[in-house]
């Protein structure tokens, strides 16, 4: 495989990890998170510092980044997850910006705005692939579990969810925690792939890109989010010339989706044995119907 293609696949895998939790939190639980870059930053910096300062094994560094990011979600969620949608969105945006500011100003530890160069590039395609696939399967199982159903119930109607005994705050916390952990993991992988990090890599634009992936793929589909993460990572790489127009198109597509097809690319379709069988049967019956039609025609 060419290193170029390998690079795209690694980035796609990292984005899948960054988007999976967001799909759970925003798509399934209904809390609009506008600060995903904050968790990426935390994961990236914690993992990098663990590698470079404490020389721990790569796996430990990744785990440390993910765990730290997840732990941050707890104090952050306590005051904010009880808030209405707009307030939560802006609070998460504020969190991401604050994280970036703190990293920029802790120059002694983080290298300030110039960042940290020379990170050992330990992220390889097999590692990313395995992590992305495992995480995808876990989230896919989660959303159809009793916990996942509770999340969707909260999204659909928070008052009704409370009325059937769901501790809505607790479930939002869990989704937030899982999201932060996965984004932290993605951050660690990213820093150990690029070999260099700086705060500018984790601006509002990064949060925007990730949330667009969830919306584009279909807010109510894990498969959609994964697919969108892959497509929207690969597409700009392939269409280098149109790179400048990429974000213009993102914006337009997001509005278009909301106005015409808010369920996104896949709606709530999920990849599963049943859904594949359904497609197969549908195709079969269509072709056999056509055949019948020809006979009679």
């Amino acid at each position: 495989m060419s290193p170029y293609l390998q690079g795209i696949l690694i980035l796609a895998g990292i984005n899948v990890l960054a988007v999976l939790g967001l799909s759970l939190l925003t798509g399934f639980t209904g809390s609009f998170c506008f600060g995903q870059a904050g968790f990426l930053t935390i994961g990236a910096y914690v993992a990098t510092l663990l590698t470079m300062e404490l020389h721990v094994p790569f796996a430990v560094a990744l785990l440390g980044g993910a765990l730290f990011s997840a732990l941050v979600s707890i104090p952050l969620g306590l005051p904010t997850l009880k808030l209405k949608g707009d307030y939560f969105a802006i609070a998460t945006l504020g969190f991401a910006e604050a994280t970036r500011l703190i990293v920029e100003n802790l120059e002694k530890i983080t290298g300030g705005s110039r960042g940290i160069p020379g990170i050992p590039t330990k992220t390889s395609l097999p590692i990313v692939l395995v992590l992305a696939v495992v995480a995808s399967i876990c989230i896919r199982f989660y959303v159809v579990s009793r916990h996942g159903r509770n999340c969707v119930a909260i999204r659909e109607d928070e008052t009704a969810a409370q009325a059937i005994g769901i501790n809505t705050f607790r479930y939002k916390q869990i989704s937030f925690f899982i999201n932060a952990a996965l984004a932290g993991l993605a951050g660690g992988l990213l820093s150990h792939y690029v070999g260099f990090i700086q705060p500018a890599m984790f601006g509002i634009q990064k949060s925007t890109e990730l949330i667009v992936m969830v919306i584009f793929g279909g807010m109510h589909s894990v498969t959609g989010a994964i697919l969108a993460a892959i497509i929207l990572t690969a597409l700009p790489e392939v269409l280098r010339a149109a790179a400048a127009w990429r974000l213009v198109a993102y914006g337009a597509v997001v509005v278009l989706i909301m106005v015409t097809r808010p369920q996104g690319l896949l709606g709530n379709w999920e990849l599963s044995r049943e859904s594949l069988m359904a497609i197969w049967n549908g195709l079969k019956s269509r072709f056999s119907k056509k055949a019948v039609g020809v006979d009679h025609g």
């Binding site: 949608g85 009325a163 400048a244 914006g251 509005v255």
Partner: protein, 290 residues
Amino acid sequence: MILQQIINGLSIGAVYALLAVGYSLVYSVLNFSNFAHGEVLMLGSYIGFFSLTQLGVPFVVAIVLSVVGTGVIAIVLERIGYRPLRLRSAPLLYFMISAMGLSIFLQNLTIVTIGPNFRTYPDIISTAPITIGDLYIGRLDLMIFGITLLSLLLLTWFIYGTKMGSGIRAASYNMRVASLMGINPDLVVAIVFLLAGATAGVGGMLFGMKYTVYPWMGTLTIKAFIAAVVGGLGSLPGAVIGAFLLGITETFAAAYVSSAFRDLFSFALMILIIVIRPGGLMGVVSQEKA
């Protein structure tokens, strides 16, 4: 020294107020935060800039062009991005996402077409400050303060002193009741966006004069949004109070702690307020009807 900081705080707070009012106006009627408001401000700033530099019109004409332009832009954006959602009573989450889409679109379209560089407004007024004792007051700051105050007064008169304004207030209380009273919801929404857009136009010119013009200057309005939240989303007096509170907090944080952490204080203020009073200072904590 403290007095100097208060003056600086009021000066920045005034511009925040003008923009926070735009957020609150839209929120009061449609119950969502129009995250594309910042981009309307940015476009207003560009309209003002090009009017002054390319058309060479006088300053007052430039403001009028900017205000008219952003008013129209805001209405058009509402038609494209929000009206279809309104008509099918879509979840509020979709409004927010659509607003975010508009914001990304406009910001990046500007980068691609006009270019990502910073542009400096021509000097409208002498840059020499007025000194009173050991206080320094920038002439530009004074002018900005004056224009903001005038705009806010005009807006207050419109909302509280005209028939259309009372229609908006009725709609902000309850859209359904308002339409029963014979108020055309489309018209109310259009007027609200016109007003919000117009204030963003003025704000854009003022920001452009004080700082520079650039495509992502719309993110400056995050501060205005924070002000609106602090004051209580949907409340106009709240937005103004929140804005001045934020302006003063920021200047004090920058002067006595560190300018690098100024924004941290803004966010901290917001989180603090919504934890203590979830509806903001002047907002009402709405209890959903089940």
